[in-house]
Symmetry: C2
Subunit: 574 residues, 2 copies
């Protein structure tokens, strides 16, 4: 027989590397060790299992051809041995074996290896607050917990749920609870926005508004102080501001690499606890590889290492480990951070760095925001998709992209295309000329993503000056914050009139786009004009014209009212 | 006043360059000249206007904010003068003026320019056959013709239509005729497949099958010999094989650049009749630019020039002309050939070169074909999307991509991402690691496009050997063509049994994927095994295993029966 390959971890990166290496080295003896009884499942599908979209947990463990990926399947179909319910206790690197314990019999055994793969994954963070151990407090870490949650709901025991953490998993679980089961659900997010670090504030706000419209209570800037129960069972969650009744709590507050085994074996582990690997995904011991949620992955844009707990990356990394063990020298370029999620009737996606993250990393970062149609404006199913590009003003490199739209693949298409450009180190010029496929049912002649790159080009060249959404909303809340500002509303007077009525003619001017060239003399010279339209396109055009006629004190609201409307604001006139 | 900019052509590239240059040089005097009375419309929307999806022709001329882009709009909103119904007769390059004729009054006039832009577009080819001038024979060249067609249909004068040309416009018109109006429609394509040159034979075949299922008669490899009429009105179309009754004929047999004006002015024009431009889109006279369907565009992949008549490119090129006239040095990289189209309930898209085109260009080209799910297989709305990558076996560069799927944006997302990689000169390794956004409602953990790149990697490394779809189908038609071939069907025996019954046990072996490792001794050693599954994935895996056990005489059917089923074949067992 050939090489002995032992893989610790049987969810995503582990099985992938096992199958790849077995295909490349059919002689190899490949063994997967996992402490769980259930292996090789689509963990990202858990919210859809809980919601009922996926009726049976087995579907998450099935192949696309409807076979369940259990021990028998791996052995018969793949020639890979799976030892489930088997705990890896330690690694002996000198003698090259893993000491394991059979969790059923308690027997211990040494499993020898030529190459070892650590695919130990990550564990959900448990907040250090009182009550975190109460019955009814769950994390979304494996299928057993998912089944337990669904059982409780199905038994009618859950009328109210609190989700601690407004990341993707928390939001997906909120939808699962609310949409099918009608559970009164609250998301608590400690940071000032949901999806912190993933998207900028205004994109998060569009999502929060949609979550609220869909019946979810969203509390941001508010952490859970404690969880209270009676008779050991959860009853309520306490924050500094309120107490929320709850029959069930999901803690979805990030994850932490499982690297204790690596650490104990003396392998290099980062300060944050991730297993350090090289581009071939070798740990500091070249015979030991690591992949998936447990490793430190280099961000291609920043060059820095960090945790990247994504099922998509785990699969890619598993394949690369398989290649390298089999003698095919494959390098992992790193990650950029593409993500997408469904939230009720909408989708939100991003890739690369958010504006805040890019600024924090020291980039000369700026953001171009549009809110244009996903397809030809005359095509019946068209919808507005706000898009944002983050880019470097000096190098013109694209650093990130964000999108928000209806629940279809329109945003996916733009984010995937932007991810390709970012991954290749491309510039806003590359994105401007990116030849996206066009026909009226699918796109606009100049795709919304190309148009956003063109806006970035105008910003980088100083041909466009923005007021940020945040500054604009602050001013709308309190005109005295910027006493010299005046809105110049280019939309049809019918659209503008309620704003004029509410804000007063001295703060809100209605002058339609089509009439500006004839009537610009009516505009005040001693004010800062905030130019507003629906998508931001007309505003940009009018800014240049106003500059030309000497009214240079003006700023454009990028994405215009299409963006503001989706963010939903209290002062919105009826 | 500033520079005088004259633009000949008012549909797409012309207005775009006019508006861009006016924004960059607000002082410029910008004039658009067009012989038509209708300008600046979405020509690609014509099929949707004819179908009735777009009810009013005005919608094709409107902005996204519902204003009609007519002469008054351009003047008031953009500061651009439009001279509609004005024919450009000649260009005087020495004295820098255009001689024009007002088609209403007949008056002639010289219009001076500092910079001239030729955006004269293309005209549809009129086949040199008898009857091409009969009443009822149309081309899809402008809004007037579209309105005339719709009028005839609305008056109930069209029961049967023939479309000459199976390109994108022809197929879109066939849908328009059939779907809403119930017109008995026949497409005649001279080449052996629809969408010739754009997609490979098997992808075209999937589309043809869907068109037929949707009620369109599709005749390939068959040209129109003549059109016959009575009293000057069209009655039938004659091909070498049959006569087809018709009340209306659409000629959609490609286009030809309108370059007579440029040619008469002594500007460089290619052998095919396209205006030659440099990377700044200047013609051989540096004061004269050209953009849109009339120019020769460099294909980024082949480096060769050709016509690229796409609304999306016209808009891009118009912007670049505007930049360069305004002193912003912008270079046009060229095109790669991205396209997408709706056909009833499906979409088909491609970018870059087809396999045939790549081979014809001398590339060491090969194709990887998959037919996997667009989203997680457990997600309710998942569907199979056949994908193909064309790549160079030596350089590993991606040369092209094709996709076929349901009528949503799933195929768009993959083709746009592939277009980004191709445009950046990327390899199959770049595509394999392209970080596409993942969540179960949108993609699979390893996206179908990444998976196709991995198949390409296996092919390039010689780890995978294919039988082509064509060879497979030929053999299925006539086993004696390859007497040593035997199908090895890995699918569930229930799926395989009708094939075994029809083809005989000596030609069609049913041995399920899961049992191969145990039962491979049953396989014949002196035959070529054609390994078949649904998506091609299991087949690839089993090929490696069979090689390992010494049964090296075997080939995989890429894309498997998911592809064959969509192509639709006569011998399909009931």
């Amino acid at each position: 027989m050939g090489k002995k390959i032992v893989i610790i971890g049987g969810v995503a990166a582990g099985p992938k590397s096992a199958c790849r290496v077995k295909r490349l080295l059919p002689d190899a003896e490949v063994t997967i060790i996992d402490q769980d009884s259930l292996i090789s499942y689509g963990g990202c599908g858990i919210p859809y299992f809980v919601s009922g979209d996926v009726s049976d947990e087995k579907e998450l463990r099935n192949t696309s051809f409807h076979m369940t990926r259990d021990e028998a399947f791996f052995l018969k179909a793949k020639g890979v041995t799976v030892r489930a319910r088997t705990l890896a206790l330690s690694i002996n690197r000198q003698e090259k074996f893993v000491l394991v314990e059979d969790l059923t019999s308690g027997a211990q055994e040494s499993v020898p290896y030529d190459n070892l793969v650590l695919a130990t994954g990550a564990r959900p963070n448990i907040l250090p607050i009182a009550g975190a151990d109460l019955d009814g407090v769950f994390t979304i870490s494996d299928l057993h917990k998912a089944m337990a949650i669904k059982d409780r709901i199905a038994r009618g025991e859950v009328g109210r749920a609190v989700i601690i953490g407004g990341g993707a998993i928390g939001i997906e679980m909120a939808e699962a609870f609310t949409d099918l089961w009608g559970i009164e659900t609250t998301i608590i997010e400690f940071m000032p926005q949901v999806l912190p670090r993933l998207v900028d504030w205004d994109f998060a706000r569009m999502l929060e508004t949609h979550l609220r419209e869909s019946g979810v209570t969203v509390l941001t800037g508010e952490g859970a102080s404690s969880i209270e129960g009676e008779d050991g069972k959860i009853c309520r969650v306490v924050t500094p501001k309120r107490t929320i009744e709850a029959d069930l709590v999901v803690m979805a507050a990030g994850v932490q690499a499982r690297s204790e085994l690596a650490q104990a074996a003396g392998l290099l582990v980062s300060a944050l606890g991730n297993i350090v690997v090289n581009e071939r995904l070798q740990t500091s011991d070249p015979d030991i590889y690591a992949a998936g949620d447990c490793i430190e992955v280099k961000n291609i844009i920043t060059g820095k290492g960090g945790i990247a707990p994504m099922g998509s990356l785990a699969n890619r990394e598993g394949r690369i480990v398989g290649d390298n063990i089999a003698g095919i020298p494959t390098r992992y370029k790193g990650w950029i951070g593409s993500f997408i999620m469904k939230a009720f009737e909408h989708s939100i996606a991003a890739t690369g760095l958010s504006l805040d993250a890019a600024l924090a990393e020291g980039f000369a970062a700026a953001a171009a925001t549009t809110a244009q149609s996903d397809r030809a404006h005359f095509f019946p199913s068209q919808a507005v998709i706000p898009l944002r590009l983050i880019f470097d003003l000096k190098t013109r490199k694209v650093l990130g992209a964000q999108g928000f739209g209806p629940m279809n693949d329109a945003v996916l298409a733009r984010i995937d295309a932007a991810a390709a450009i970012i991954g290749q180190g491309g510039t806003i010029d590359d994105l401007s000329q990116l030849e996206m496929a066009y026909a009226p049912p699918f796109a606009t002649a100049l795709d919304a993503l190309n148009a956003t790159a063109n806006v970035a080009d105008n910003l980088a060249a100083g041909r466009l000056r923005y007021v940020s959404t945040k500054e604009f909303l602050n001013w709308m809340e309190d005109f005295t914050s910027q006493p010299d500002w005046v809105a110049l509303d280019l939309r049809h007077p019918n659209e503008a009139k309620s704003f004029v009525a509410q804000c007063g003619k001295d703060k809100w001017l209605s002058l339609p786009y089509i009439e500006i060239r004839e009537r610009h003399q009516e505009l005040p010279e001693n004010k800062t004009l905030l130019i507003i339209c629906d998508a931001g396109t007309r505003s940009s055009e009018i800014q240049i014209f106003l500059d030309h006629v000497g009214l240079v004190n003006n700023l454009v609201l990028g994405g215009g009212f299409n963006l503001i409307r989706r963010m939903g604001v209290d002062w919105w006139p009826k």
